[in-house]
């Protein structure tokens, strides 16, 4: 699928470039911008990013694939991230993860056929003191138990 940065995003990129002495340094924020526009980082997105930042394509590929928050495939409208790292695990993180998996019928990294949900088992999110937690897209939900986590899923549409 073709990808072109929207006019307004091109302007934002101009602003981003002012923060760094090199164009390449803008690659992370520009990839975020592209992900926002396109929903995920496709090969076309990487190519467009490389061209706009005068970067080698392979360097953009390297960055896009190194960092887990750039989605290399289309994720669900609600990207559910469940932390199972130690502090969450000690307070029921895996119960939540198992319940969410069952409810959505998804395994780690999978996307539902209607593209409404995707699931990711994530590493520590910095909510250990308010564990266990899940994140839905950019939002954190903390101090959960299995029931509350499932209620959150129910409330999403």
């Amino acid at each position: 699928m073709e990808f072109k940065f929207l006019e307004e995003n091109l302007q934002t990129i101009e602003q981003i470039l002012k923060k760094y002495p090199t164009k390449q340094a803008a690659v992370m924020p520009v990839l975020y911008l592209a992900q926002e526009q396109n929903g995920w980082i496709s090969k076309e997105v990487m190519l467009a990013t490389a061209s706009i930042l005068d970067m080698n394509e392979e360097d953009v590929f390297g960055v896009a694939t190194f960092y887990t928050m750039y989605h290399k495939k289309e994720m669900g409208k609600h990207h559910i991230q469940v932390c199972t790292n130690v502090s969450c695990m000690l307070r029921g993180g895996y119960q939540i993860y198992d319940a969410v998996k069952e409810k959505l019928g998804l395994d780690n990294g999978e996307v539902s056929t209607d593209k409404k949900f995707s699931l990711e088992e994530v590493e520590c999110m910095g909510s250990c003191g308010t564990a266990p937690m899940i994140a839905v897209n950019e939002d954190y939900f903390e101090n959960l138990d299995k029931e509350k986590a499932l209620q959150i899923l129910d409330s999403l549409n």
Binding site: D59, G62, R91, Y94, C128, G129
Partner: protein
């Protein structure tokens, strides 16, 4: 007890409230002093880095070359991805201006015209809060060109917020710089150290968010005041994040040297259900775990923890009660380091995968005594043999958990080595069967 980094003042995160309480006065005073004076004050204060290694902040600043025409940089490390650590987030939310003011003072002291505050990508909300504070500070003339007027100085600097994208390794200082440069977050071989060869090859200082947030009060109240708080060798307050099996988890700002048992029982409300403690990891998941019967009298500062065979790390205290399955905990820790290894060094890349595979086998009840020994051997072969300290961070929990809790492992493994060749261990990356998650 006085709070230095997280004062209990309502709406302190707002610029006007911060100003009403003496905000940006430290910066004002800093610009009346020479950079040497400031570095000297920070050195004498005894402030040590809060990002893990507890290195003297003033000493680090003094490594920055003076008569060097190259641009200089400051990186403020808010990657905060060490499991059990959730303190810098509090500063971003409740006291961003003190962080910004500290950043300004640090820039001035080391001669940096640009600072990048690197915040982990998952902290969307906190990045927005920080960016808002930065924007407000720009608008009021505390950062950027206008600061020359505001502070009656000829110095100015810019502060940029850089958003990470989900890689623990970018908390490692050289990986962080590569990440800002727009590369994969691969740690660099040291030397050269950042003060000589950092961002874009220029002199660079990297400090943790909490370290920098301590700077304005030190400048304002003097090093004598700061150095008298807590343990003399590691003075000041520390943000202790307590998580796990406690009644009242959270972040507590307390003087360094506070008793670990006081933090757990007085501040964090004790153990849920009044159970006994089996294990405490005192400084984030990379740090050697302590036994429950080893906690009496342990003080929370770098030297005291070293003396009992652990380390202060990020001050993230993870409490595990007597019913905790430590084998599963260790398997989960191993999974984290396997996931986060950047893959540059063979011992770390392969060793973390082997350790996880063996631990998962033990969790499934298929491990043998030899497996437990093998884990220790692998850990020892990673430790000290890698480009960055993630290798050690992966090795220590395995090595010390087994050393200190051997009975937990022996209880779930078989004596006999099975004759079936189940123990095939080879490179796990790029295989069709990625490692199964820790069994829940």
């Amino acid at each position: 007890m006085e709070k230095i980094v997280l004062p209990e003042i309502e709406n302190f995160h707002q610029l006007d409230v911060y100003l009403q309480n003496g905000g940006y006065e430290a910066a004002k005073s800093a610009f009346t002093q020479t950079t040497d004076q400031i570095i000297d004050t920070v050195k004498k204060s005894g402030l040590r880095g809060r990002g893990g290694a507890a290195f003297s902040a003033g000493l680090k600043w003094s490594f920055m070359p003076k008569n060097n025409a190259k641009p200089k940089y400051l990186c403020v490390n808010g990657d905060e991805s060490e499991p059990g650590s959730f303190k810098d987030r509090q500063i971003l939310e409740y006291n961003p201006h003190q962080l910004i003011e500290g950043t300004i003072i640090a820039c001035y002291a080391i001669g940096a015209k640009s600072a990048y505050i690197y915040v982990r990508g998952e902290y969307h909300k906190w990045i927005k809060l920080l960016q808002k504070a930065v924007d407000d500070a720009y608008e009021k003339g505390f950062i950027g060109d206008k600061m020359k007027e505001t502070f009656a100085t000829d110095f100015s600097c810019d502060i940029y917020v850089h958003k990470g994208a989900g890689a623990y390794i970018c908390g490692e200082e050289s990986a962080l710089m590569n990440s800002i440069e727009g590369q994969r977050g691969y740690p660099r071989v040291k030397p050269p150290f950042p003060a000589q060869n950092g961002l874009w090859g220029n002199p660079t200082t990297i400090n943790n968010v909490e370290t920098i947030a301590n700077i304005p009060p030190i400048i304002k109240k003097g090093w004598e005041w700061f150095s008298a708080i807590g343990e003399p060798k590691h003075p000041g307050t520390i943000l202790f994040g307590v998580s796990g099996h406690v009644n009242n988890p959270g972040v507590f700002e307390l003087p360094s040297g506070t008793l670990l048992t006081d933090i757990i029982y007085k501040y964090a409300g004790g153990v849920i259900g009044d159970k006994k403690i089996k294990c405490v990891i005192p400084g984030g998941s990379s740090m050697p775990p302590l036994r429950g019967d080893q906690l009496e009298g342990v003080k929370m500062d770098a030297e005291s923890l070293k003396a009992v065979g652990s380390a202060i790390g990020t001050g993230g205290i993870m409490v595990m009660d007597e019913d905790t399955d430590l084998v599963r905990v260790l398997a989960r820790i191993a999974k984290f380091y396997y996931h986060e290894s950047c893959g540059q060094c063979t011992p770390c890349r392969e060793g973390t995968g082997w350790m996880l595979k063996i631990l998962n086998r033990i969790v499934r009840g298929e491990g043998t005594k030899k497996d437990v020994d093998l884990l220790v051997t692998i850990a020892k072969n990673i430790e000290g043999n890698t480009v960055c300290a993630l290798g050690d961070a992966a090795a220590w929990p395995v090595k010390f958990m087994i050393e200190r809790f051997r009975e937990e492992f022996d209880a779930v493994v078989k004596d006999e080595v099975s004759l079936e060749p189940k123990n095939k261990v080879h490179s796990l990356r790029h295989t069709a069967n990625p490692i199964a998650p820790v069994q829940g």
